[in-house]
Amino acid sequence: MTLKTASVLAFNRKLDISDGFFWQLDSNDEKPVASPVDIREKSVRGTISNRLKGAMASDPSKLDAKIESPNPQTVDVATLDHDKDTLRVKWSCKVLPFDGKPSVCNDQAYQTQLVSVVEEYLNDVGVSELAKRYAANIANARWLWRNRLGAEAIKLTVACTLDGKQAEAVIEDAKQLSLVDFTAQSDALNTLATWIEQGLKGQAFILLDITAEAKVGYGQEVYPSQELILETGEDKSKVLYSINSIAGMHSQKIGNAIRTIDTWYNAAEFPIAAEPYGAVTTLGTAFRQPKQKQDFYSLLDNWVLKGTKPDLEQQHYVMAVLIRGGVFGASGKE
């Protein structure tokens, strides 16, 4: 019987990342008590920039009336207090064992073949390259996104409890690390990469506690995640994420930064997140088109079903998508 892809196939994510929460403190205070960064509302004068509908579009006098009396709009904004200059963001990352076993698979023959492909990769290649890249993206604070831009310096601490002992890896200034290449070396980076590797290999249960302190300046604006809200009503155009009045960044957004390790797509100029079609939402582009057979599904099917092993670099990519997790059976493909 010829092997075919299981109709039901899904993987759990192996880097299980929490939301990040925003605190603030004063770098000049010797014994600072961090306080939460809160979200507040700010009024802005609405301008007419959305696409006009129906009567509004066809009747200029109605448009004029609308422009003369714009809706008072509110947006959410988050800033540090005037006596605080440092943004502290904390989140955690569980590194779960990666052995190629799907969380759901309804075809035993396919699963056996898939697991043997992953095992071969783990034995012959290993996850050290991937672990190094994930570590680099934690360390370079890419995950702070816009907050990274305005920061003068970012001190980053990663804590991990191993064999009952608490260990730490400290990056003195994350801003000094490159966002484009993954060649940098340091003790802290190596330690971090080793932890991640141990976790993926299932040698130890790894829970990383990441804390970044970004010096952004007194009273400066900071950037939590924006909520995607389907029915905002007329008066509010931007809602920021918070829980218990503490501003936060969604785990998906942090996760996207951590898996921004794919430099192996065609004519790559910068790393993109490991995604099935190399999709980058902010650019509106998918960099791995199925036409070129460089997308996840083409590579995986060739590898598992036909036994055609891709180049080493594409092997890394395929494994990175499996580590990301998702639904990959019949309905995953577009």
Partner: protein, 303 residues
Amino acid sequence: MSPVSHYLLLNNLEIEGANTISSPITYGFPAITGFLGAMHALNRRLADTELEFSGVLVACHECHVQRFRPHTYADYSFNQSRNPIKKDGKTASIIEEGRAHITVSLVIEISGKPRVTREIRDSAEAFTQRCREALMQQRVAGGSVHKMGEVQLFDRSEVGEIQRALLPAFVLMDARQDLISITEALQQQSPQATELDGLIEVATLHQEPDHPKALIDQWHGRSVKTGRGWLVPISIGFQGLVAPFAAGELEHSRNPEYPSRYVEALYSLGKWVFPQRLPDDFSQCFWRYSQQDNLYLTLQTCA
């Protein structure tokens, strides 16, 4: 089944991304099946201990539903997460989901042969450490645990200690009797009222004028819940819609090795109770799997 010998307390589990849509007509706190499922998964990971986890008590400290409404009189919608764009660069359509960040404490009933329960008592620390790591690596109610407090093993005589350790929280209890009596009261006014109307009545706030000439601020709210405790509609399991399929019969089943069955969710009332006011019979506080004919229920009575 051996009698319960110990209770395992999993204190202050902080769960991110739990499924807040607990059934086709309820949302908020995740469905009980999510916690029973987590208990059962944990039991499977510890299968070598030969212990049996038979029921779970669910106490909620915090529940933050990811939702928004533009003003107090509007309905809520759930905050969505952006899916990756499609390969043609277009945005993928949104399939609505509802998520909550919750902090819960769970207590698990443990039983087993005298030899094995003695073993865990003597090596309680190793046992609780193992439970902690296993739990961190599995999903609970659709979300994942990112932090947890103490994991403690209690002897079955230490109920008072457990109840106090649950503070501050509220424990979810079955309130099916309240649904029956609320519906009966409704039926006195309108005989065709059903238990579904009873569920809606629990969610209804009656705005009543203090007197017929009441001014706008001379009104009060009345709810059928007053005096009955903190009642909420909940999902309590499933019923089969058609006869079960034999193993392998249903195409694209996730688990072709087991029989399968099309089902629908069933609903009733639950009540949030302060730990110090739980019934004297502690065993009544635990939710358990129950299957009888075409009913697959989560119940607090012993099957």
